[in-house]
């Protein structure tokens, strides 16, 4: 009897276990959102398998996350969703070399009381290399979707912070419930920048350079000792546990790269100076001014991602009676602008392999910037290489992505025409073998905003902005003239109105930028956020200062619209 009972008990355990396992693998989908199949065949398309390697009338077969077949004679399995690719162009998924994609800026750190010491608390000083971007990533953050809509499938995301914010990770730009599902390479890089702590050491470039040397050199001594201790601890003092010091061990050992936020000529030269002195693997993650640096980059074996953030094209004065001097100065300014554009071609022709990064670039400007760079002489193939295989090589992920080769991750961009045509649009993006259909601009007006969306957007909005100078209020007025959206930011503080530029409104996400004069400097403020009904909830940021703050707005008299 007792035996029998035990058997029944065991059986029920087994049943219970089975029931659980069925539940795990069946993945019931109460939302009805899950696709019926993860096998996709895009047929009769122009497939750019890799830069320069074009397959006409080809088929791309992606199944369960992987590229299974590509070519002109591909047999299509029964369970595949077949997509007619006539007139469509397929590219390898784009790769972004460095950005804050998905990361949320942490709350400002309270000023500690013991600030004025040579060694202020590490979190305030911004020396937190032991931290990881994974802890800052919010899977619902707009930046993931914004990049995906441009055709980006992978991003090397780095954390917000000051001098040493933490590790960057390579992530997939998928829709996911949990950050873990995005990770391609966890804690891949050490991210660093010239960002001093307000009022505390290190306060500026002087202190940051010195602190860097100090941290690195100290870690190289401590690492040797830690190794000796782990080999034979008997008779040795226990090494001090310090996660900041330990974070430098893989850098000293050249097992991990340092990614420097060094966009300007002088910053990049300073980063290279540290590399030359200390000898570590350096990647400049967002170079904007590289033209004088080509030789230094090659000599020091520095890796480079070129920023897709370009300066705005200068506007020459349209006055008739301009002096010779003004004409000359305007010409030099235009030359300086062109200097930014032609550097990409020069780098390529002088043998520098670079990828692109989106840090600091407004997503609505990225495609236009790419077109400007190509117009200035970088070939389309080279631009595509920088977006795909070269970026993959620089990030060490070329075996899993960067081309549409069989066996790689199912990352692809499907465009309504050649991607680098002004009028083409990204129609769908495959990431990790999952299909994302995008709102193509065909249904939109000249601004790329649908008529339905325009009704939501156009009108007068009252905003409130928590700027570093205190709260500011005013009106955001968005209108449409001759089929073109325009707008002004009008403050209640008496400052002159500013025109909105680059207004974009897609899937409820509004972004635009405007310029203000501050202390003799022109600052570009980028606003980005979501509209829900008549409420706008967004973030204003000034990339020059690495500063951002909240801005909210409510539509005035929505009934009248």
């Amino acid at each position: 009897m007792k035996q029998q009972r035990e058997i029944i008990f065991r059986h029920s355990l087994l049943l219970l276990f089975l029931a659980f396992s069925i539940n795990i693998y069946a993945q019931s989908d109460p939302t009805g959102q899950a696709p019926p199949t993860r096998t996709y065949a895009i047929t009769n398309a122009t497939i750019i398998q890799a830069p320069g390697k074009v397959i006409e009338n080809g088929t791309l077969l992606i199944s369960n996350g992987m590229i299974i077949n590509v070519g002109t004679s591909v047999s299509i399995p029964d369970n595949a969703q077949e997509i007619d690719g006539t007139d469509l162009f397929i590219y390898p998924g784009f790769i972004d070399g460095m950005s804050y994609t998905g990361a949320k800026r942490p709350e400002a750190i309270q000023r500690p009381n013991n600030l004025f010491t040579p060694n202020p608390p590490n979190d305030y000083a911004g020396i937190t290399p032991e931290q990881s971007v994974i802890d800052q990533i919010d899977v619902t953050d707009n930046s993931i979707e914004n990049l995906r809509q441009l055709g980006f499938t992978v991003s090397h995301s780095v954390p917000y912070g000051r001098m040493l914010p933490g590790s960057g990770s390579i992530i997939l730009l998928s829709e996911a419930d949990h950050t873990d599902h995005l990770i391609l390479k966890e804690n891949y890089s050490m991210y660093t920048q010239f960002e001093g702590a307000p009022g505390a050491y290190p306060g500026n470039t002087l202190g940051i350079m010195a602190k860097w040397r100090n941290l690195f050199t100290n870690a190289s001594y401590q690492r040797v000792y830690a190794q000796a201790y782990s080999k034979d601890p008997v008779g040795l003092n226990r090494p001090t546990q310090d996660r900041v010091v330990e974070a430098f061990y893989p850098i000293v050992a050249k097992e991990k790269s340092v990614f420097y936020n060094a966009s300007s000529l002088l910053e990049a030269q300073r980063a290279i100076r540290l590399k030359k002195e200390l000898n570590f693997n350096l990647t400049i993650g967002n170079l904007e001014e590289g033209w004088y640096l080509i030789d230094q980059i090659k000599e020091t074996n520095t890796s480079v991602f070129m920023s897709l953030n370009l300066p705005d094209k200068p506007k020459n004065s349209d006055e008739d009676d301009k002096s010779e001097e003004i004409i000359e100065l305007e010409k030099k300014r235009m030359d300086a602008y062109n200097r930014h554009l032609i550097q990409f071609r020069e780098m390529k022709s002088q043998g520098v392999t670079f990828g692109f990064s989106t840090m600091g670039a407004t997503s609505s400007k990225i495609k236009n910037n790419l077109l400007s760079i190509i117009e200035a002489g970088l070939s389309e193939d080279d631009a595509l290489s920088a977006l795909t295989i070269d970026a993959a090589l620089l990030l060490g992920i070329e075996s899993i992505t960067g081309t549409l080769d069989v066996g790689k991750i199912g990352n692809a961009v499907v465009s309504t025409g050649p991607y680098f045509n002004k009028d083409s649009n990204v129609k769908m993006v495959f990431i990790d073998g999952n299909k994302y259909d995008l709102d193509t601009k065909e249904s939109r007006t000249a601004n790329g905003v649908s008529a339905e969306d325009e009704a939501v957007l156009i009108g007068s909005w009252s905003y409130s902005s928590n700027t570093p100078q205190g709260e500011q209020t005013g009106k955001m007025i968005i209108q449409k003239n001759d089929d073109v959206l325009s707008g002004i930011m009008s403050g209640n503080n008496g400052a002159p109105d500013s025109d909105m530029n680059n207004i974009s409104f897609v899937n409820g996400n509004l972004s635009f930028d405007y310029a203000v004069e501050f202390g003799g400097q022109t600052l570009e403020i980028v606003i980005e956020g979501d509209i829900l009904g008549t409420d706008f909830d967004g973030v204003a940021s000034i990339s020059q200062f690495n500063a951002s703050w909240a801005i909210t707005a409510t539509k005035d008299n929505p009934d009248q619209n």
């Binding site: 004025f116 010491t117 040579p118 001093g196 009022g199 050491y201 290190p202 306060g203 500026n204 470039t205 002087l206 202190g207 350079m209 010195a210 602190k211 040397r213 100090n214 050199t217 100290n218 001594y221 401590q222 040797v224 000792y225 000796a228 034979d232 008779g235 040795l236 003092n237 090494p239 000529l265 002088l266 030269q269 300073r270 100076r273 033209w291 004088y292 230094q296 300066p311 705005d312 094209k313 200068p314 004065s317 001097e325 003004i326 000359e328 100065l329 305007e330 030099k332 300014r333 235009m334 030359d335 300086a336 062109n338 200097r339 930014h340 554009l341 032609i342 117009e375 002489g377 022109t522």
Partner: protein, 454 residues
């Protein structure tokens, strides 16, 4: 569009080739000048031959070697390039003022080769500057001695290769202002002295720890914590770094000499040193130098008891004295500043000009290379249309390593190397507020209200 790009490439090619040339050395024969050698009197109708950037011969009727350009300087005055021992031009940051001892930081990290003030200094006959850290803290950062090779885009091209390391100290009101505003040491001159003594004592302990570590054989030894700050202080104690100390009052000047005597540090120059005239014999006995303003004072309380005779009194007491600018404006006419010592104190022409050439070269430890016109020295030279101590003198040309960096004849309106395409046209200015009072830049931690309402 393509044509435009080609044009800009041509322009760039021009700039790039210029920047390559800038790191080079030149050959030149300057004919028939009045040569003010500083160390060997003034030579009339004399030729100076420059080969590979060095002065190779001085004499009359020198033959022009093949391929060497000849420059007729009849009626002109040739002097050594002017050296400014206290400058804050060409630096993108000046103070790491967030902590009171920052010996580990260095101005070599923040050299800005694009600063147009460099060109303006060249136009005043200046060939070398001492780019100094600011005076916000007791022990500031290391300074950087530069040659003004304007046109190069690489900060390293401007470094005075082989110049000894120097460091900035600061006494008196500037560092104590920060201390009082923050409620930390130092709040008084006593606190400054205590910080200096504590820092050097700590450095001695650090030095001993590392000596013991290095003396222990094998790898089974615990390394002390590495500190670049302490390493630098140890180098000062070892005499490898020259100290340049911001100071005004006689009592603080005397204090620092006592501290240095106690720690055996010998290489010391007092910057500003407005009251140095009160302790001139003591300075001479210590062997300390002074780098001063000609006649600038009364801009704060500690700078009242001053005199324009400071330069003459120091010189006549045997103190090596230089006159500096500490300004992007004064640097353009240091020869006028030197001339003031003739009105106030009747110094000789040679004594006056030495204060902007040989004497600062000695203070920076580069007197074996520059500071006078001698065979074997670097061809860092300035040509004037009149005697440089004349109020009518105009600098005509400036050479570094025999390469011409300024020529009044070919002086273009816009000398910027770097142009921000997003800048406004109206931003182009002759002088900006940035050119003055950079000593406390990046250190705006206190306003007058909080200073007096502690």
């Amino acid at each position: 569009m393509m044509k435009k790009f080609t044009q800009s490439i041509l322009i760039l090619f021009f700039i790039t080739s210029w920047s390559i040339a800038s790191a080079q050395t030149g050959d030149l024969l300057i004919k028939n000048a009045t040569v003010i050698t500083i160390t060997d009197g003034t030579l009339e109708n004399t030729d100076v031959l420059v080969r590979n950037g060095k002065i190779s011969r001085i004499g009359s009727n020198l033959n022009t070697p093949n391929g060497v350009d000849q420059l007729d300087a009849t009626g002109k005055f040739l002097m050594p390039g002017i050296i400014d021992a206290h400058s804050h031009i060409a630096g993108s940051s000046i103070n790491e003022g967030t902590s009171q001892v920052t010996a580990e930081v260095s101005m070599e990290d923040v050299v800005d080769p694009f600063d147009v003030a460099i060109y303006r200094a060249l136009a005043g006959g200046v060939t070398s500057i001492h780019l100094m850290h600011g005076s916000a803290n007791v022990i500031g950062g290391r300074n950087e001695t530069l040659k003004l090779r304007y046109g190069s885009t690489n900060p390293d091209d401007l470094r005075f290769e082989g110049a000894p390391r120097t460091i900035k100290f600061a006494l008196g009101e500037n560092p104590t202002r920060g201390g009082r505003a923050r409620g930390i040491q130092p709040q008084s001159r006593m606190g400054v002295e205590a910080m200096l003594r504590n820092s050097f004592s700590e450095a001695l302990i650090y030095k001993k720890e590392w000596e013991e570590f290095r003396a222990t054989k094998g790898d089974r030894k615990t390394p002390p914590e590495y500190s670049l700050r302490m390493e630098t202080l140890v180098d000062i104690l070892n005499g490898d770094i020259l100290v340049h100390c911001h100071s005004y009052r006689a009592d603080e000047i005397y204090m620092l000499m006592k501290v240095f005597s106690d720690f055996g540090i010998e290489k010391l120059t007092f910057q500003h040193a407005n009251e140095a005239y009160k302790v001139a014999p003591e300075l001479a006995e210590f062997g300390a130098s002074a780098s001063i303003f000609s006649d600038w004072w009364a801009y704060k309380l500690e700078v009242y008891n001053s005199t324009a005779y400071n330069a003459a009194i120091l010189t006549q007491n045997g103190v090596n004295t230089s006159i500096n600018s500490d300004s992007g404006e004064l640097i353009r006419h240091l020869f006028h500043e030197a001339a003031k010592s003739q009105k106030y104190g009747q110094l000789s022409d040679n004594e006056a000009l030495a204060m902007i050439t040989m004497n600062p070269a000695i203070q920076l430890g580069i007197d074996n290379r520059v500071g006078s016109i001698e065979v074997g020295k670097d061809a860092d030279l300035a040509i004037f249309d009149n005697h440089p101590l004349s109020i009518y003198a105009i600098p005509l040309m400036t050479f570094i390593d025999g390469v011409k960096y300024f020529d009044k004849e070919t002086d273009a309106n816009d000398q910027r190397i770097y142009i921000n395409p997003e800048s406004d046209i109206e931003e182009v200015k002759i002088l900006t507020a940035d050119d003055h009072d950079r000593c406390m830049q990046d250190a705006d931690f206190v306003d007058f209200y909080s200073l007096f309402n502690n």
